[in-house]
């Protein structure tokens, strides 16, 4: 496994941690005060920081560090997670996500925003820390003279970004004699986990050697005889004596990411400390003591507070880094405990494995083959055994059930909750609402609704677009809302649910609804409809899906860049989905998307058209009927209408549209499939005959060929032949006069 692969895994984990972080923060925002939630949030940031440190992603580390410090204040109940605090935290989570993305894909982040948040985070971390004066006043008096000269000359930030501010510790009478030439004794004994996590003792020691002059002794007493030795075991320990100008924290920082997997003791050398000019008693800073003893804990807090107070003259970034560095010690110990908790929690919460998507896809393909093969087998058995009672037949039926079950199970592997996508939306709502100066709350429901991963991946973009639209155009400004007697804070509700084998995603805003007058005017201006067109409210609402339609008067950063709802509609359709809108003036609009649960299989009606076998997605069909001659009416030169229960519906000859035949078929000889298409309105599709219904495995045409207008995909039937799956919407659109070729060129530009 090379470095890039490891890094890739790290970024994958980051994604998960970021999701965890955001959902935790949102929970807190909703008033959840469970310490475990706070811990989860803290762990997420800490893990990202840890990994980022291992890969030398300095920007990420330093931001995560500041963030973590503030979170720690929340965790230790020093900072109340109020709405305002959480607002900053959520923004920080966004920046953290940006930093992760920037580290992965290159690119840059908004520096000013990051810096601003660093300041805000710091302010929060400092705000609730108890005033340093009350605690330390009596103690440092004696040491004040020694500390004074240093306080005026804080050292420049070192490479690691952790700026030691030595005076605070002198000031404090703590155990940190950060004086040139201090000697420390370090006992370092790695456990085997250290190596199994990819750390390397030699590298740690080498890092250590860069800090100061050191002498090192290897303790090999634990080394067993060669035949007893576990090649992956850890047998060596080292005692190091190091002379350095750096503080004990800096020494510990070397072991930061290995600390939990080794026995580590860092203490000022006995001999050295007795020679100190300052009358200080070195306190061995043992990790466990730190965690258990409240006295030491207090000291750490004071340390933090003092660092803060003293660093006020330093630059803000340096201040944060310094403060953070002080807090580090306490927090790493706590984090170690948190890690253990996390491991336990993970073990309890059902076991999961991470599987390469390719492998799952291969399995799905194979199962698809299996289904086809089984169908082929059934068919040939039926052909050869008309009685249908033989043992073979019974066996086949069982096989069929099993295959179906296997298929369902395999599909379930790919099924994922829509939660991650919904979470991303909450960020978009936050950002866009900020940008346009609106106050908007996103309420999500049914986040755990599962749907195929490919569907999830593909709905993110259209959903983003719609959310932006809803924030930008849907919800009114607070002033307008107040004037209308509504809550100044707008609400966008995002719901997911399963309904009859599809997933239904609803996006409802409580804004002003669609301004039908304006939409209509715009459509007339853009030549989308005739000026005297008489449209129903529903038809007007659906105009927003027309290509090139955008009602934004001013082209803003957020929406209205010429690509509008038509693109959204197109991408939903490409997924085999439908989208519709219902709007009530003054009360808001609701977009409803209905999507297939999976893109791999489809329930279809197998029909014959001009000697060819076609599959029509069952979801598109409203009803089927055998037209009577009296129900068919000619309309103009080429159009024909069919009357169904006293309403007239245009008749579309599928064979003609697809160029399978050159003359219109006689409707009376065929079957009409009543379909409902996008944008409302029904059409009767004429086919020659219905063969039956069946679940078919969708095969891409694009993989080896190109997109074919009017055809959604292909499938393989029981006899091994390929059948085409009809793209009902495209066919209906074609029947409206848009030619399929035009549709094709549109698709190319879109």
């Amino acid at each position: 496994m090379d470095m890039n692969e490891i890094k890739e895994i790290f970024f994958q984990e980051c994604e998960e941690q970021l999701a965890e972080l955001e959902s935790g923060l949102l929970k807190l925002n909703d008033g959840d005060r469970d310490p475990e939630t706070v811990n989860a949030v803290f762990r997420a940031v800490h893990s990202i920081k840890g990994g980022a440190g291992a890969f030398g992603l300095d920007d990420l580390v330093s931001f995560a560090h500041v963030f973590e410090t503030t979170l720690d204040c929340v965790r230790s109940n020093k900072l109340e997670p109020t709405q305002d605090v959480l607002k900053v935290m959520l923004k920080s989570a966004d920046v953290l996500a940006d930093l992760v993305a920037a580290s992965r894909d290159g690119g840059s982040v908004d520096e000013t925003r990051t810096r601003g948040l660093v300041k805000e985070l710091e302010a929060l971390a400092h705000g609730d820390v108890p005033s340093p004066a009350s605690h330390e006043a009596p103690k440092p008096a004696a040491k004040a003279p020694a500390a004074a000269p240093k306080a005026e000359s804080p050292k420049p930030t070192d490479d690691s970004g952790f700026q030691p501010i030595p005076f605070t510790f002198d000031d404090f009478g703590s155990d940190e004699p950060a004086i040139e030439g201090s000697t420390y004794d370090i006992m370092f004994k790695p456990r085997r986990e250290l190596y199994s996590k990819g750390n390397e003792a030699a590298l740690l020691l080498r890092d250590l050697s860069r800090i100061g002059e050191m002498s090192i002794n290897c303790d090999a007493t634990a080394l067993p005889a060669l035949d007893k030795m576990d090649p992956e075991g850890s047998y060596f320990g080292w005692t190091i004596s190091i002379k350095t100008a750096k503080s004990e924290d800096d020494l510990r920082a070397v072991f930061e990411f290995a600390e939990w997997d080794c026995d580590l003791e860092v203490k000022p050398s006995e001999a050295e400390s007795s020679d100190e000019e300052l009358p200080m008693i070195p306190v061995p800073f043992d990790l466990s003591a730190l965690d258990d003893a409240p006295a030491v804990d207090d000291k750490a807090e004071e340390t933090l507070a003092a660092a803060v107070a003293a660093a006020e003259t330093a630059s803000n970034v340096a201040k944060a880094a310094g403060a953070a560095a002080r807090a580090e010690k306490k927090e790493t110990a706590a984090a170690a405990a948190a890690q253990n908790n996390a491991a336990a929690a993970a073990a309890a919460a059902g076991q999961t494995i991470r599987v390469d998507l390719d492998r799952v896809d291969r399995l799905i393909n194979l199962v698809g083959e299996l289904v086809i093969n089984q169908a082929m087998l059934s068919q040939s058995v039926v052909e050869n055994d008309a009685t249908g009672t033989s043992a073979v037949n019974i066996g086949l039926e069982e096989l069929q059930q099993l295959t179906r079950e296997i298929q369902d199970s395999v599909m379930a592997i790919r099924a994922q909750p829509v939660k991650p996508v919904f979470q991303r939306m909450s960020r978009i709502v936050r950002e866009v609402a900020d940008m346009v100066g609106k106050s908007i709350r996103l309420v999500t429901e049914g986040e755990n609704t599962e749907v195929d991963k490919t569907v999830i991946d593909k709905i993110a973009e259209p959903l983003t677009h719609m959310i932006r639209n809803a924030v930008d155009h849907g919800i009114e400004t607070p002033e307008k809302r107040e004037a209308a007697g509504k809550d100044p804070e707008g609400t966008i509700k995002l719901t997911a649910k399963h309904r009859s084998g599809r997933i239904l995603i609803e996006l409802a805003d409580d804004g002003g609804g669609i301004n039908r007058e304006r939409v209509k005017q715009k459509a007339i201006d853009n030549d989308l409809i005739a000026p005297d067109a008489n449209l129903s409210d529903e038809e007007i609402d659906n105009l927003i899906f027309a290509p090139g339609f955008s009602t934004a008067d001013t082209i803003s950063d957020i929406s209205g860049r010429g690509v509008g709802m038509d693109v959204v509609k197109r991408s939903i359709q490409a997924l085999g989905g439908r989208i519709s809108i219902s709007s009530r003036p003054g009360l808001g609009s609701t977009f409803t998307m209905s999507l297939p649960l999976t893109l791999a299989v489809l329930d279809g009606m197998v029909v014959t058209v001009a000697g060819q076998t076609l599959v029509v997605p069952l979801t598109a069909i409203v009803e089927t009927l055998q037209p009577e001659a009296s129900a068919i009416h000619s309309f103009g030169a080429t159009q024909r209408l069919i009357s169904i229960r006293n309403s007239f519906c245009p008749l579309v000859d599928v064979g003609r549209i697809l160029n399978f035949r050159s003359t219109q078929a006689n409707p009376v000889e065929g079957v009409a499939l009543l379909v409902e298409s996008e944008g409302g309105g029904q059409r009767a599709l004429m086919v020659d005959a219905i063969q039956g219904q069946r679940q078919v495995v969708i095969k891409s045409l694009e993989a080896n060929y190109t997109h074919v207008p009017g055809i959604a995909a292909a499938t393989i039937l029981g006899d091994g032949r390929v059948a085409l799956i009809l793209d009902v919407d495209a066919v209906v659109a074609a029947s409206r006069g848009q030619s399929l070729k035009a549709e094709m060129s549109l698709a190319a530009t879109g």
């Binding site: 399978f660 032949r721 094709m744």
Partner: protein, 157 residues
């Protein structure tokens, strides 16, 4: 066997070609781009497809478009019989089936054997042919597979 071919390629800089027949003419493609050769099965016609795309067939679960090479070369649409074969070939990232009358030969040649295409008036021949081979008094045209589906058309999807 494939091993020895590969070795030969390395040593002599030679390449292997599969030659096939359409009408009374012979053509060939590089063997490295050929995945398999299979018998003709009826294809499902595609709407709005160019005349030379016969349709699609099932290749072990994948959808394989079939190109009537005769029609593509402007030699008239083929009327395939069960004796016709489909050469399954890689074409950039796609896999397509080429309908030909019969596979006639496997040739091992070096680059020197390939003669440039003479100046002819027809664009079609100039575009499709990468070179001409003279083998045993036969003339065999080396076809450029990338040309079969023009890039523009594939982009239209």
């Amino acid at each position: 066997m494939s091993m020895s071919y590969a070795v030969k390629n390395l040593v002599q800089g030679s390449q292997e070609l599969i030659a096939f027949r359409i009408g009374d003419q012979e053509f060939c493609v590089n063997i490295m781009s050929v995945r398999e050769i299979r018998g003709w099965t009826p294809a499902t016609p595609m709407p709005h497809a160019p005349a030379y795309v016969m349709g699609i067939v099932n290749l072990r679960g994948a959808v394989l478009p079939i190109v009537d090479l005769s029609a593509r070369l402007g030699m008239g649409e083929a009327e395939p019989t069960p004796r016709y074969v489909i050469i399954v070939a890689h074409m950039r990232e796609r896999v397509v089936g080429l309908l030909v009358e019969a596979v006639s030969d496997i040739l091992t040649i070096t680059d020197e054997n390939i003669q440039p295409v003479p100046e002819v008036s027809s664009d079609l021949e100039r575009q499709c042919a990468r070179g001409i081979l003279a083998i045993d008094k036969r003339m065999i045209c080396l076809i450029d597979l990338d040309w079969l589906f023009p890039e523009k058309e594939s982009e239209a999807a």
